[in-house]
Symmetry: C2
C-alpha cells in the first residue's frame, strides 16, 4: 500500500492514515487520501494488469487497503461500457457511451464506495458505524457490513426507494426512517455518532468512500485503452462519484498514463440544482436548496458537503453543470430502454437528457466521445414505469 | 462457428441449423445444438482465453453465432463465484460457494439465454416472437429484443413479480397478463404463434436459449481453474439452466479439458416439485403438478418440457432432486444476506436450504466443494422481506 497521509484540500493539514480520522480537525473539510505517486507509478507500470482479477481491486496501487485479507468483496465486476449506437443515431451523437453501474452488487455504484469504505473500516478495527442516506448508499454499506461483521446504523428518508430499505433489513442493519430529507437524516446521524462514539460513515465524512468511487475513473480510462473520452456526464447529488473520477484522472495523469482530462459535467434535477446554480453564478460553493424534490431520488441532496470539490472538478476541466426536468428524466429513461434495452435508474437517465441539451446548444459536438454515467439499475425504481397491460383469462387469445 | 446441425435427443433426427426450427418435427422434443467437436477442440486449445472479453462471448467456439455483428449485448459479465466462508462455517461446509447470477443485465440468469437466443434470432432474420414466462425470462428477452429491434410479445401470469412487468413495458415489449399459471400463458402463446406465424420463444421450443444458459457451466469450470466442484445445486423450474450446465460439462469433457462431472442437484419447492417426485419414483419424465404455488415464483413450473433432460442430467451424474419448504426458502434468504451480504432471490435461497438438508443427510460431505447457483437478485423480489423500521421525526434521536 502506498498511502502516505490524509490531506485537507482546504487548509492542507495532514493526518495520520493509521487512525480513524473523519473530517479535517481544523476546518471540518472532507479529507483526501494521498499516495506516494513515485512508488505507485513504478509499481503500476511493472504490474501486468491483464493478469489481475477483473474487478476494482486490480487498481490496488491506488487503493488504501494495507492487508488484502481485510478486503470485503461481494463479487464486484468491471461494469460494462456500452456504445449506444441506436440512441446515438436518434439524438445525433457519433460516439455515445454508457457506463452501466447497475451491474454492481446491490445494483448501484454505491457498492464501490462501500467495498473500499467497509474494507478500510474493518482494517481500522471499526465495530459499528452510522450514516444518513437517500437509500442506495445505505443499502450498499449495509450489505458489505453484513459480510464484514460490522454493525450498520442506517438513517434514511421515509420516501427513499422501498427496495433499499429491504436491502438494509435483510442484511441485518439497524434501519431508521425519518420524515424528512437526507439532510435531516444527517442531523440524526451526527447526534448518534457523538453520543455513542461510533464511526460516522456519512458521505465524505470519512475519506475512503471516495477511493472506491474513483475506480469508475480508472475503469473508464482502461476501457477506452487509456485514451480519455471528451465528456463525462454524472448525475450529481453528493457528488462523490464526480470527485472520485476527477481524483482518479488526476492520479493517472500524475503517473503519466494519460495527459488530457475530459470535460466533467454535473447533472442535477431542476427542483434540486444547488451545484448548477453555484456554477452559473461562478461560485466556489453551493447554497442549501429549499424544498428539494425530484423523481431522481438519489440526487435529492440540497447541499453537498463536497460541493466545492465538485465545482473545482468542473471548473478545472472546462466542464459545466446542467439541470433537467423530471419530465425529461422519465422520457429519456423510456428512450434508453426502448432503443438500447437498458432499464436504468432515473438519475442515470438525467445524464442522457442533459447530454442531448448540451448537444443542441453545441457545447458538445456530434463527433465527440461522450460517456453517460448510469449510477444504478432501473430495477430499484419500480414506480417510475407504468405497465398498463391487459389481463387475459386462460382461454383468451392475443391480437398482435 | 462450428455448429453442424440441430439434433433431437429422443429420436436423433437431424435438422438444418440455417433455418428457424422450433421442436423436433417428428416427436415434438426440444432440439439440441451439435458442434464439430474436433474443430472446436483444436480452436479452443489454440485460443488464448485470457486475452478475450471477460464475458460469455469468450466461449465463442461453443456458441451458435455465425457472424459476430449479430451479437446483441447488454454488457454481460462473468458473474462472480463467491466463497461463503461465514455461511459455510455456520452450516458445516468447508468449501461452500455461490455463483451469483444476480449481476447479469436485468438482474437474473435469464439474460444468458436471451443474449444468445435473441442474437441467433436476429441472425436468422426473426422480426417478432411470442413467449410465456414467469417474469424474468420475458423481461430478459424483452430488453435484448429492444436492442435488436425485434418485436417481443410476452405473456405472463398476473402474479409474476411486478418489476419484471415493468422491464417488459419500459423496453417497449407487448405485454399480456394472464389470470393463471405459466402453463396457461403457454397455451395463449401457442395460439398466437400458430395464428401469426411468429417465432415461438417458449422455454426449449427454440434450441438457442440453452446455448446461452450453458455458459454458466463454462464459467464455473474456468473459475475453478478447470477443476470441477463435487456438487452443483440448481433451482429448477423449466430446468434449462441445469440442462445447459450439463451440456457444457459434457462438451468440456468431450474436448478433454475436464474428466469427471459434478453431481447435479435439482432443487424445487415443496408445493411445486414434479421433478423431485419423478426422481423419487425413478421415472424418466415428470407428471403435471396440480395447484402449484411457492414464494419462489420463478420455479413455479408444473411440468417442464425438458423434464426428461433434467432427469437424465441428474441420473447420469449421480445427482439427486430435493424439495424445500417456502418457510425454509425465506429463512435461508435472510441467512445469506445476514452472514454474507448477499441479497439473493428466493429461488437461489432454495439451493442453500437444500444443500443444508443434503449435508445433514450426509449425501454431501463437509469437505466437498459445493456450488449454490443463485439465479437472480433479491432486488427483483421486494415482497419477500419485511422491513419494519421506526419512523422518526426530524428532531428525534436514535438509541443504539
Amino acid at each position: 500500500m502506498y498511502v502516505t497521509h490524509l490531506e485537507c484540500p482546504k487548509c492542507k493539514s495532514r493526518f495520520d492514515y493509521k487512525k480513524l480520522v473523519q473530517l479535517c480537525e481544523k476546518c471540518s473539510s472532507p479529507l483526501l487520501v494521498k499516495y506516494d505517486i513515485k512508488k505507485v507509478k513504478s509499481a503500476f507500470f511493472r504490474a501486468k494488469l491483464s493478469a489481475r482479477p477483473y474487478n476494482l481491486w486490480r487498481y490496488k496501487e491506488f487503493l488504501p487497503i494495507e492487508n488484502e485479507k481485510n478486503i470485503v468483496s461481494l463479487g464486484e465486476v468491471i461494469t460494462p461500457l456500452l456504445k449506444l449506437k441506436n440512441l446515438g443515431k436518434t439524438l445525433g451523437f457519433k460516439h455515445l457511451y454508457l457506463k452501466d453501474e447497475g451491474l454492481n452488487p446491490g445494483g448501484s455504484f454505491k457498492s464501490r464506495g462501500a467495498a473500499v469504505g467497509v474494507s478500510k473500516a474493518k482494517e481500522l478495527g471499526v465495530k459499528s458505524f452510522a450514516m444518513p442516506t437517500n437509500g442506495n448508499a445505505g443499502a450498499a454499506w449495509a450489505i458489505y457490513a453484513a459480510k464484514a461483521g460490522i454493525e450498520a446504523n442506517i438513517v434514511m428518508p421515509k420516501d427513499a426507494p422501498l427496495i433499499t430499505r429491504n436491502e438494509c433489513a435483510v442484511s441485518g442493519a439497524k434501519l431508521y426512517l425519518v420524515d424528512g430529507l437526507i439532510s435531516d437524516a444527517g442531523k440524526i446521524t451526527a447526534k448518534a455518532v457523538q453520543r455513542y462514539g461510533i464511526m460516522d460513515a456519512s458521505t465524505l465524512k470519512e475519506p475512503y468512500r471516495i477511493e472506491g468511487k474513483k475506480t469508475m475513473g480508472f475503469e473508464i480510462a482502461e476501457q477506452f485503452g487509456w485514451k480519455i473520452p471528451d465528456v463525462i456526464l454524472y448525475p450529481t447529488g453528493g457528488g462523490v462519484g464526480l470527485i472520485g473520477i476527477y481524483k482518479a484522472l488526476l492520479e493517472l495523469r500524475e503517473i503519466g498514463i494519460i495527459d488530457i482530462l475530459p470535460r466533467l459535467v454535473a447533472v442535477q434535477a431542476q427542483n434540486c440544482a444547488p451545484i448548477v446554480k453555484a456554477y452559473e453564478n461562478g461560485q466556489k460553493e453551493s447554497v442549501f436548496w429549499e424544498n428539494a424534490k425530484t423523481v431522481a431520488f438519489g440526487i435529492t441532496v440540497p447541499k453537498a458537503l463536497g460541493d466545492f470539490l465538485v465545482l473545482e472538478a468542473i471548473y478545472k476541466t472546462n466542464g459545466t453543470a446542467v439541470s433537467v426536468s423530471d419530465e425529461d428524466i422519465l422520457k429519456y429513461q423510456l428512450l434508453l430502454a426502448g432503443s438500447e434495452g437498458l432499464f436504468i435508474c432515473p438519475e442515470g437517465a438525467a445524464t442522457a437528457a442533459a447530454a442531448h441539451l448540451l448537444l443542441q446548444s453545441r457545447w458538445i459536438k456530434p463527433n465527440e466521445k461522450v460517456v453517460l454515467l448510469n449510477t444504478g439499475s432501473g430495477l430499484k425504481y419500480p414506480d417510475t414505469v407504468n405497465a398498463n397491460s391487459p389481463i387475459l383469462s386462460v382461454n383468451d387469445e392475443i391480437v398482435i
